[in-house]
């Protein structure tokens, strides 16, 4: 015996031998870690064997441990499969933690100030190992989370799981959906790029429409921190994103999950009699225990889901980063994030106050009160025809409104601006102007025109020569003079005369882009009568070229930009005092550097 009043480890060794004493020592440590399961219990559980001792040691962690006391110790067999829940609720929770972890990583590298936020983004991309990886994961996770939470709501509706006693679970779920969307949206502004600024400007301007005016104006001021989004607005969105909304989200997540546990997961409707809720009374033979069944399953899903996300960001998805936010430059075709497209679509229907504020609020309110209105006891599809019709009606409406929210729908831009924008557009929304991806060495300096495609094969040279002649002293002379002056004065392009050269069809990208440009012009004969397009490529520096894209067309009589057609279905041209058609010009230019990688680099 030692001097201690209790047997020491050494005494144990003396009494039982080293091996047995060590095993028991480890066993007791493991048991304290797992709050009740020893090594033997764990091995049995992982093998899928039934527990070998009583009372069931697998229930002990639920009783004694902090983390597992939040989880039920067993589930009904019918709710642990893929149907009816598709793990959507679990996935939503997974994404909450996923976003928190990736978000904290990004937070370390971020300062919410317009002066440095964008530079922080560049630093994350260019100087932080795994920075881009984390940013991609965070962004992808955010988009996925919105989708998953929405689907979770939809599933709950379809299986009528919102019915008594789960009304408040549904309501807290709707709140979580709203928080998820606002969280995702508030994160939009933080990179301080053009995409961020304009998406949020649209969003915040909707808030401004909230009636009455004094409320809208002040709400807008509170949110933006000034008449325009600036340093204050960015800081507010940042605090919303990392503090206020996550706090609300975690509180509601707690409430939501508490309700889920206390009422248990609703069973598939067909397994219960109408009006019954038997989820809490699980017969012994239907019990699936959390340890080991559900736990291994969940850990497996953490691995599989994370792997899928990582594969996606490795090869298929990169978080967009556009150019620095600039309140003075409005990009053509600005859209809200996809999950708010339906609001943008609704706004095109008319009144800003109704469609921008009242309608979306009503949408959420209608969803929130569903369980308090639909109190019929049956959860079976056959008895819920109206509810299902309503659900599909809502889905259809949302999809149609989202489509209407796209910039292609119902926004009138002039044909020339649209076509030129399609040619030179900066990369945005995974889309860029056709000219940008042309390989750099194909951009030979010179002047090219879409007129060359009016010729048959092999006659391009003659047609272009004839066109040059027209420019020299034919009917295009006025247009050419105006164009040269316009290019020099407005666009600072030092050209003194136009002399086009035919572009050979050598299978190169530039040829195809010019051809597409020509076809785009030809496709709008009424808005661009007698039009031709030109592309002028000039050298600026070593490895830097300038590309001017221009359209020249005849002015016509129009109403709100749309041509008034005469009896032949053609636009009426505007003529000057001498009866000659008036030429109009539009031009835009971009610079292309050889390392810009709009195209994939050779060898990658």
């Amino acid at each position: 015996m030692s001097v201690l009043p209790f047997p020491s480890f050494l005494d144990d060794v003396k009494e039982k031998g080293l091996r047995r004493a060590l095993y028991e020592g480890i066993n007791s440590v493991v048991e304290r870690f797992t709050a009740g399961m020893n090594v033997q219990d764990l091995r049995e559980a992982l093998r899928g064997d039934p527990p070998s001792r009583k009372p069931n040691p697998r229930l002990q962690p639920h009783a004694d441990g902090f983390w597992l006391h939040m989880r039920p110790s067993y589930f009904h067999k019918s709710v642990t499969g893929l149907y009816p829940e598709f793990r959507l609720g679990w996935l939503s929770t997974y994404f909450v933690f996923f976003e928190t972890i990736t978000g904290i990583f990004l937070m370390v590298w971020y300062t919410p100030s317009p002066q440095v936020a964008y530079a922080n983004m560049l630093a994350i991309m260019a100087n932080v190992p795994l920075g881009q990886f984390m940013r991609d994961l965070h962004r992808l996770g955010a988009e996925a989370m919105v989708l998953i939470v929405t689907l979770h709501m939809l599933r709950t509706f379809l299986t009528a799981s919102y019915k008594k006693p789960r009304e408040f679970t549904w309501f807290s779920g709707i709140m979580l959906l709203v928080f998820t969307m606002v969280l995702s949206f508030s994160g939009y502004l933080l990179p301080w790029d053009q995409l961020a600024l304009w998406a949020v400007t649209i969003g915040a301007s909707m808030v401004e429409a909230a009636p009455p005016e004094v409320v809208g104006t002040n709400l807008n001021l509170l949110l933006r921190g000034g008449p325009e989004i600036g340093a204050n607005g960015l800081l507010r969105f940042y605090l919303l994103h990392v503090l206020a909304l996550p706090a609300l989200l975690f509180v509601f997540l707690g409430v939501h999950y508490y309700k889920v546990v206390i009422h248990a997961h609703s069973l598939p409707p067909k397994e219960e009699n109408i009006g019954e809720d038997t989820a809490k009374r699980v017969p012994l033979d239907k019990r699936v225990y959390f340890i080991p069944d559900v736990l291994t399953s969940e850990i497996m899903w953490i691995g599989v889901t994370s792997l899928i996300l990582i594969i996606l960001v490795t090869w298929f998805f990169h978080a967009p980063l556009e150019s620095h936010a600039d309140p003075q430059v409005t990009p053509l075709g600005t859209t809200a994030p996809w999950y708010f497209l339906w609001v943008q679509g609704a706004l095109k229907l008319g009144d800003k106050v109704f469609w921008g504020i009242i309608f979306p609020t009503l949408y959420v309110v209608v969803l929130a009160v569903v369980p308090y209105v639909d109190t019929a006891p049956s959860r079976r599809w056959a008895h819920r025809r109206f509810q299902l019709t309503f659900a599909f009606g809502m889905i259809a409406m949302t999809v149609i409104l989202s489509y209407m929210g796209l910039s292609e729908f119902g926004v009138v831009t002039s044909a020339d601006s649209e076509i030129i924008n399609e040619m030179v557009k900066e990369p945005a929304h995974n889309h860029m102007g056709h000219i940008r991806p042309v390989p750099y060495d194909e951009l030979r300096s010179g002047m090219y025109t879409t007129r060359q495609f009016e010729a048959g094969m092999g006659e391009e040279a003659e047609v272009v020569a004839a066109f040059n002649e027209e420019i020299e002293n034919g009917e295009q002379a006025t247009a050419a003079t105006t164009l040269v002056g316009f290019l020099e004065a407005t666009h600072h392009l030092p050209v003194t005369s136009l002399n086009f050269t035919p572009l050979p069809d050598d299978g190169g990208e530039l040829y195809h882009v010019l051809e597409e440009f020509g076809m785009a012009i030809e496709a709008r004969p009424n808005e661009l009568p007698n039009a031709w397009g030109g592309v002028i490529i000039t050298d600026v520096q070593d490895g830097l070229k300038r590309i001017d894209v221009m359209i020249v067309w005849n002015d016509y009589v129009n109403e709100n930009g749309r041509p008034i057609l005469n009896e032949n279905g053609q636009p009426t041209l505007v003529r000057d005092a001498e009866g000659n058609p008036v030429w109009r010009i539009n031009n835009n230019h971009i610079f292309i550097h050889e390392n810009s990688q709009y195209f994939s680099a050779p060898g990658t």
Binding site: R47, L82, A119, S297, T314, H324, H492, L544, F591, N595
Partner: protein, 358 residues
């Protein structure tokens, strides 16, 4: 199909799938981590390239009016930036280095007389070479270049990098002063009251620095620059027979009769050292040069404020006492120091030149 259960039914299979997933995650993240260095470099390169593109756009919009679209500067208005001078290229560097080395060897103890003679021959060759280089740079020298002091940063005593020199110049602009540029370069940074953000200034600087040819600058490049920077310290000495800033117009006119103006010299003053053309160009900042005399005769002298003036008197007064009468629709922006910078002969030449502008 057993979709009702856990998709992966047996616990062992779940453990397997989970373990494989975690292993794959580790492999993938490891693979990404290994490639991070290359990826970050590629991003940096791509970003710099796009920064140059944006800078080029802004240069054409904001800077080309004074510095020229090709960045070679405009005579009398602003210096060239596509210039070996800005990047400190020394055309004489090689010859200078050899001269220094040889001189040191010659002066060192123990050099044989034969070797000394050899060195002397080579040194005289080098003098010729240096002269040849300087001669080939004559066009540039005429435009303000000095081959012996080939670096802008050294000349102004700039203690930091070229990047910060250009950046700081963009932030604050450059002032107008006596014997300096006739037209101020505005402050471009928002912090200094301008219109551009810091990231835009960065884009501009990367574009401007992209003109650097390193060791490949040629004499032709130097000669193609239209205008070299003015060194404020280089001139500005008081003129001996100056008209005088405070001399009354009557005295000037009375004295001016004794001089015969030379329109050619007037023209070179106008476009050259006085750089009047910097402002009297397109009629935006100041009345344009073209048609000056016609305007004086038909419009200005008809103004009751100028009753009794002759054309010459009006021109002389406008140059020396520019604030006495401001042409309608313009502001008083003209420097008031021409009285100290012009002799009567210069003034007569200028007036004679302007009388040819009909």
């Amino acid at each position: 199909m057993n979709l009702q259960r856990m998709l992966v039914e047996r616990i062992e299979s779940r453990i397997l799938v989970g373990t494989v997933s975690f292993l794959l995650i580790m492999v993938l993240v490891g693979w990404i981590a290994i490639n991070e260095g290359g990826r970050m470099q590629a991003f940096e390169r791509q970003y710099t390239a796009r920064s140059i593109e944006r800078g080029a756009g802004m240069f054409a919009t904001y800077c080309s009016e004074c510095h020229g679209l090709d960045g070679r500067g405009l005579t009398g208005i602003a210096p060239g930036l596509d210039s070996p001078f800005l990047f400190g290229h020394d055309f004489l560097a090689e010859a200078n280095l050899e001269t220094d080395t040889l001189t040191a060897e010659r002066d060192a103890a123990g050099t044989t007389d034969a070797r000394k003679a050899e060195i002397e021959t080579r040194l005289s060759e080098l003098v010729t070479e240096r002269q040849a280089i300087s001669t080939s740079l004559q066009t540039a020298v005429d435009r303000g270049y000095n081959p012996e002091e080939p670096s802008r940063l050294v000349n102004v005593g700039w203690g930091s990098t070229l990047y910060t020199f250009v950046f700081t110049t963009l932030v604050h602009g450059r002032p107008v002063s006596e014997s300096y540029w006739p037209r101020a370069m505005p402050a471009w940074s928002q912090t200094a009251g301008g219109s551009l953000r810091d990231d835009q200034l960065n884009d501009l600087v990367t574009f401007i620095l992209n003109w650097d040819k390193g060791e490949d600058w040629t004499v032709e490049d130097a000669n193609a620059v239209n205008q070299y920077p003015i060194e404020p310290s280089a001139s500005g000495a008081a003129l001996e027979n100056a008209v005088g800033v405070d001399t009354p117009t009557e005295t000037i006119v009375a004295e001016l009769v004794n001089y015969v103006g030379d329109p050619n010299n007037g023209q070179s003053l106008y476009n050259g050292s006085l750089a009047c053309a910097g402002c009297h160009l397109a009629g935006i900042v100041a009345p344009p040069m073209a048609g000056t005399w016609t305007r004086v005769e038909t419009e200005r002298l008809a103004d009751p404020l100028l009753a009794g003036y002759t054309g010459e008197q009006y021109l002389a007064e406008s140059i020396i006492h520019s604030a006495a009468y401001i042409a309608p629709n313009y502001q008083n922006l003209m420097p008031a120091n021409f009285g100290a910078r012009l002799s009567y002969q210069d003034l007569a030449d200028l007036v004679a030149f302007l009388e040819t502008q009909e």
